[in-house]
């Protein structure tokens, strides 16, 4: 009897131990898997799942396997608060991260703030400016003053030219991200002594951009700063080419020109556009682990009809999970306060290099790249996989080539 009881007790203990060990850590998020940002949202998800598999292969976090609980927010801001409420109240996830894109990160803030959750965020511009939340961490390397840091490089490049250009046109999509970017562009233009001759927004579902580009051309600006989302970026690039825009610099904040599919279809229309980016194949950006990660991503993305190269979002999607994972392992806890303190105080080693957050959760130093498209051949995806098609002009620490100025096609 005693032996049987002892066996039962041991078995119960082992089972309890096993159950606790198998109890997964759930990370919850919404992701833009469909809708205007869907192409990149799906690429981000692939990168995050590569991270999850890597972590689980190495034994999980705190010895527990990692699981994702996620829902498609369809790039629709209205869906986001409901999703995060469900994740936290019904699915009872242990950790949360954000969706992709300013427009779908901002609506989650009030929910995560109420629950005091640490909130690593993926590519949102100046989301925390109005909230001032001390547990928000943005993996996009915009810098401590994101709105202004976003376009600072673009305008500094312009100001460095000889003779210095005098006039600036600003055109932005009427949506959260673009309005933030345009606000920063305005500040930069004014502080660097440019005169703003055109400053307007357009409604997101605009079909044809020819009238807009003509109106800009009528003011004869030297520099044209565009803040747009993927379909509009394509429309603006095409219209600029068709109208024969005579500006000396064109680009700045065009989302979408970083996506492989759009790069391939625009081809030579991209020539000499100077635009933001966060990672390109350049010798100055060869961080430890990034090329191995990209190979894994490219293999996983092959049949999934998403960005085949994965240079834009995937490395950062992997990195923001790395930051969270490293914080959990280092603090040996899932306490949101402890994690947030750790994330504020430490530098993380990730596939996108060293990541250090400032007080407002943005990067302590900006690493916005300004790249120029050069020698683009038509209908060739391969050229974007190699060094040479996108030359890093700014910041000086990462510069890989000299500017071609003025912009002409």
């Amino acid at each position: 009897m005693r032996f049987a009881q002892w066996c039962a007790a041991l078995a119960a203990l082992l089972l309890a131990g096993a159950a606790a060990a198998a109890d997964p850590i759930k990370i919850g998020f919404s992701m833009a898997l469909t809708g205007p940002l869907g192409g990149n949202g799906q690429a981000a998800l692939i990168a995050m799942e590569i991270w999850k598999d890597d972590v689980n292969k190495a034994g999980g976090l705190l010895g527990r396997p990692v699981e994702f609980v996620y829902y498609d927010d369809a790039t629709s801001p209205a869906k986001v608060p409901g999703i995060y409420t469900k994740l936290l109240d019904v699915d009872k996830v242990d950790l949360v991260v954000s969706s992709y894109g300013t427009n779908v990160i901002a609506p989650a803030m009030s929910v995560v703030m109420r629950k005091h959750m640490a909130f690593p965020a993926l590519f949102g511009l100046a989301v925390n400016d109005q909230f001032g939340y001390d547990r928000y961490f943005q993996i996009m390397p915009a810098g401590p003053e994101p709105k202004v840091d976003w376009s600072r490089g673009f305008f500094e490049l312009a100001a460095a030219q000889n003779p210095k250009p005098k006039t600036v046109a600003i055109i932005a999509s009427d949506s959260e991200f673009a309005l933030n970017a345009a606000a920063g562009a305005r500040k930069n233009a004014q502080s660097l002594g440019f005169q703003i001759v055109y400053d307007k927004t357009y409604p997101p579902p605009t079909t044809d951009f020819t009238p807009i580009v003509r109106a800009i051309q009528a003011e004869n600006p030297d520099v044209v700063f565009v803040a747009s989302y993927p379909p509009d970026s394509v429309g603006m690039a095409k219209a600029a080419h068709e109208v024969g825009l005579k500006a000396k610099m064109f680009g700045g904040g065009m989302v979408g020109l970083q996506y492989a599919s759009l790069q391939k279809s625009l081809g030579p229309l991209l020539e000499n556009i100077i635009n933001y980016d966060f990672w390109v194949p350049a010798p100055t950006l060869d961080f430890p682990g990034v090329n191995e990660f990209l190979k894994k991503y490219q293999a996983a993305a092959k049949d999934k009809k998403v960005d085949p190269l994965g240079h834009y979002l995937p490395p950062y999607a992997y990195a923001y999970m790395q930051v969270l994972g490293q914080a959990v392992e280092a603090t040996k806890s899932l306490d949101q306060g402890k994690l947030s303190d750790y994330m504020h105080e430490n530098t993380f080693k990730t596939v996108v290099g060293d990541v250090k957050f400032g007080k407002n959760g943005e990067w302590a130093t900006s690493r916005m790249l300004m790249v120029q498209f050069r020698n683009i051949k038509p209908d060739d995806l391969e050229q974007f996989a190699h060094v040479g098609s996108r030359i890093v002009l700014y910041p000086p620490a990462f510069k890989s080539g000299d500017i071609v100025y003025p912009y002409k096609q």
Binding site: G41, Q42, K200, T201, P203, A239
Partner: protein
């Protein structure tokens, strides 16, 4: 002056494209009173067909649209059959019918996402990217080709509706079903034909859309408001009215974009719609 001329030309080119999207709806909603909210979704399917064949076989997108239209015609006829059997026959078309078409729209959109993913798709053709100058006015071929094709298609549809027996039967069935039956035409078959014709136009309109810009599955939604507004503004049941309304919308959007700032364009367009309906409730060319 340059800017003015360019704004008008750009508006007319764009307006012609809007007419191509709205002509099918002018038939189904304007003449048959079927609230086909899935109409723009079919246009997107047309865009995807144009993309697939253009990418695989290199055929010109407009040609693909024309070749695909008989298939779309059959699909349209089938959809109408289901709609008639389920709703019109039992008199439930107003609310349940609308829900049916919402359902069709979502199914179409999700099917496209499952089959082709959410990335943007574009076509390549010799004329995309080129433009020529007519004096002070620059005309991008990317908009001129859709203008020409839209004109031909809309003109063709209107001639068909006003000159042939079946065409006039379509116009008649909306006015007086019983009288049409007495004239020896089966109203259900006539409506089925009309619906098929309307969906056939979306094959071509979709090809034009993807010539103008990149397409992804949910893009149809931004055209729902515009297409219905154009049909209502033109006057329910009038194809020439719809064309005028579409051109007007295109020109107003273009003008406002150029001179007042693009963010005003939708407000002004829909404001024009409201003002017109207040002054002339039947629409521009509508029968009162």
């Amino acid at each position: 002056m340059d800017l003015f001329a360019n704004a008008i030309v750009a508006g007319i080119l764009l307006g012609a494209f809007y007419a191509a999207v709205a002509v099918g709806l002018a038939i189904t909603f304007g003449q048959l009173d079927i609230v086909n909210i899935a109409h723009p979704a079919f246009v997107i399917v047309g865009s995807y067909i144009a993309w697939i064949v253009n990418a695989r076989l290199g055929l010109d997108p407009v040609l693909v649209g024309v070749l695909a239209s008989p298939v779309f015609f059959l699909v349209g006829a089938l959809v109408y059959r289901v709609y008639y059997a389920a709703f019109e026959r039992t008199g439930q078309e107003s609310l349940s019918g609308l829900a049916f078409f919402f359902g069709v729209m979502f199914i179409v959109e999700v099917s496209l996402i499952l089959a082709y993913g959410v990335d943007y798709r574009s076509v390549s053709a010799a004329y995309i990217g080129k433009s020529f100058e007519l004096g002070p006015v620059g005309v991008p071929l990317r908009l001129l080709v859709p203008f020409v094709v839209a004109g031909l298609m809309t003109g063709g549809v209107w001639l068909y509706l006003s000159r042939t027996f079946t065409g006039r039967a379509i116009l008649a069935v909306a006015q007086d079903r019983l009288a049409l039956q007495l004239m020896g035409a089966d109203p259900v078959r006539v409506k089925q034909f009309a619906f098929g014709l309307a969906i056939a136009t979306t094959a071509i309109a979709g090809a034009l859309l993807i010539i103008i810009g990149p397409v992804e599955p949910s893009l149809g939604r931004v055209y729902i408001g515009r297409a219905f507004a154009i049909v209502v503004l033109g006057g329910m049941g009038s194809i020439p009215g719809m064309v005028v309304a579409a051109l007007l919308l295109g020109v107003v959007e273009s003008f406002v974009s150029t001179f007042a700032g693009p963010s005003w364009a939708p407000a002004v367009s829909f404001g024009a719609l409201l003002v017109t309906l207040a002054v002339r409730p039947a629409g521009l060319f509508g029968r009162a």
